[in-house]
Symmetry: C2
Subunit: 194 residues, 2 copies
Amino acid sequence: MGNKGEALRQRIVAAADQLFYQQGYENTSFSDIADTVGISRGNFYYHFKTKDEILSAVIESRVSDIEDMLNQWSEKYPDPRQRIQHFIELQIRHQDNIKEHGCPIGSLCNELAKVSHALLEDANEMLTVMREWLTAQFKELGLGRDSRQMAMHLLARAQGSALITNTFDDPAFLRQEVKRLKQWLDDVAAKHIN
Amino acid sequence: MGNKGEALRQRIVAAADQLFYQQGYENTSFSDIADTVGISRGNFYYHFKTKDEILSAVIESRVSDIEDMLNQWSEKYPDPRQRIQHFIELQIRHQDNIKEHGCPIGSLCNELAKVSHALLEDANEMLTVMREWLTAQFKELGLGRDSRQMAMHLLARAQGSALITNTFDDPAFLRQEVKRLKQWLDDVAAKHIN
DNA sequence: TGAAAATTAGGATGCGCGTCCAAAAATAGC
DNA sequence: GCTATTTTTGGACGCGCATCCTAATTTTCA
């Protein structure tokens, strides 16, 4: 059955994901996505009836990617501090993209909040997944009821440095902030191990 | 001469400012602004030929407001630490708006960056003015060549907490982050006074 | 007060968009 | 191989937008 359809569907989602990141959601048209994939607008419509539908699919795909990544880290690294470190260093690996387009999650949430879009809650899920995972790591580190606040603090700082890096076109600042964040993590961990 | 015109022009800029903040630039139409002010689209066009032109006026107005505010603080408070404290507490005064719409500066820069809009550089000016002022304060505090980095660090954290507060609809987090930022400032100041 | 200038009104235009559709082409299953 | 289903195509539709324009109204000031 729809096997060929499924493959194309995934290519569409991947293209839309990229374009939404680079140009924003509202600023990306059906034609943009169709052209990128190399299919007609009509064919696109066959797979996704509305623009919201594809946004939903993109968010779902991103959430699932994030979950996979975090689960993988949970398995791979025994130490919660090490896991959080990896999370922080994620920004270094993506520094070129961040410089060019900011954080894919933050910028999307930002955009959807303006339009008071119904899918903002779905988009929030991307951040929530991270927050919950980070909270669990901080709990393991022994931060108890402060864990959630710490998780949000870390997310906020990551979002902030991504935005400033993008706006000022200054990846060196991003690296600086990552270093600072790792120092902060070490301090927090040291304080709570005793 | 164009005295009445000037007054209306300012009302238009004020309305556009609000709407751009609440709904985003792209998502705000000529009609939206005209309706808010209570004039016809044609009249609007008499004052601003293009959408870019009004965006430019809004940015100019914001930059000038920011400069006025900062200059006022520079005069009013003799201690640079006190000045920076005021800067940090600005977020508390605007917490309701931030919860609802995020940071007016950050969200605009974010949006313009996506569209690779020519006026992004003008929008950056809002952040740059703040950065330079903060840099001067940190210099006075004795941070020397680190001052600029510190200024950007502060800006980034403010941006980050605004975004998270907006996304998670959680003003308590904003207050928490402000407290944390003030603690950070005290630490930094204490370290460099000796 | 009256002519020139500034201001306001609202309709016209053209374009790009999301959406929809009918028909052609490809594929699958008997 | 032939029919039923899936997939693909490209054009049509209607709407909202930025922009433009002309004519009416108000203001200015000699």
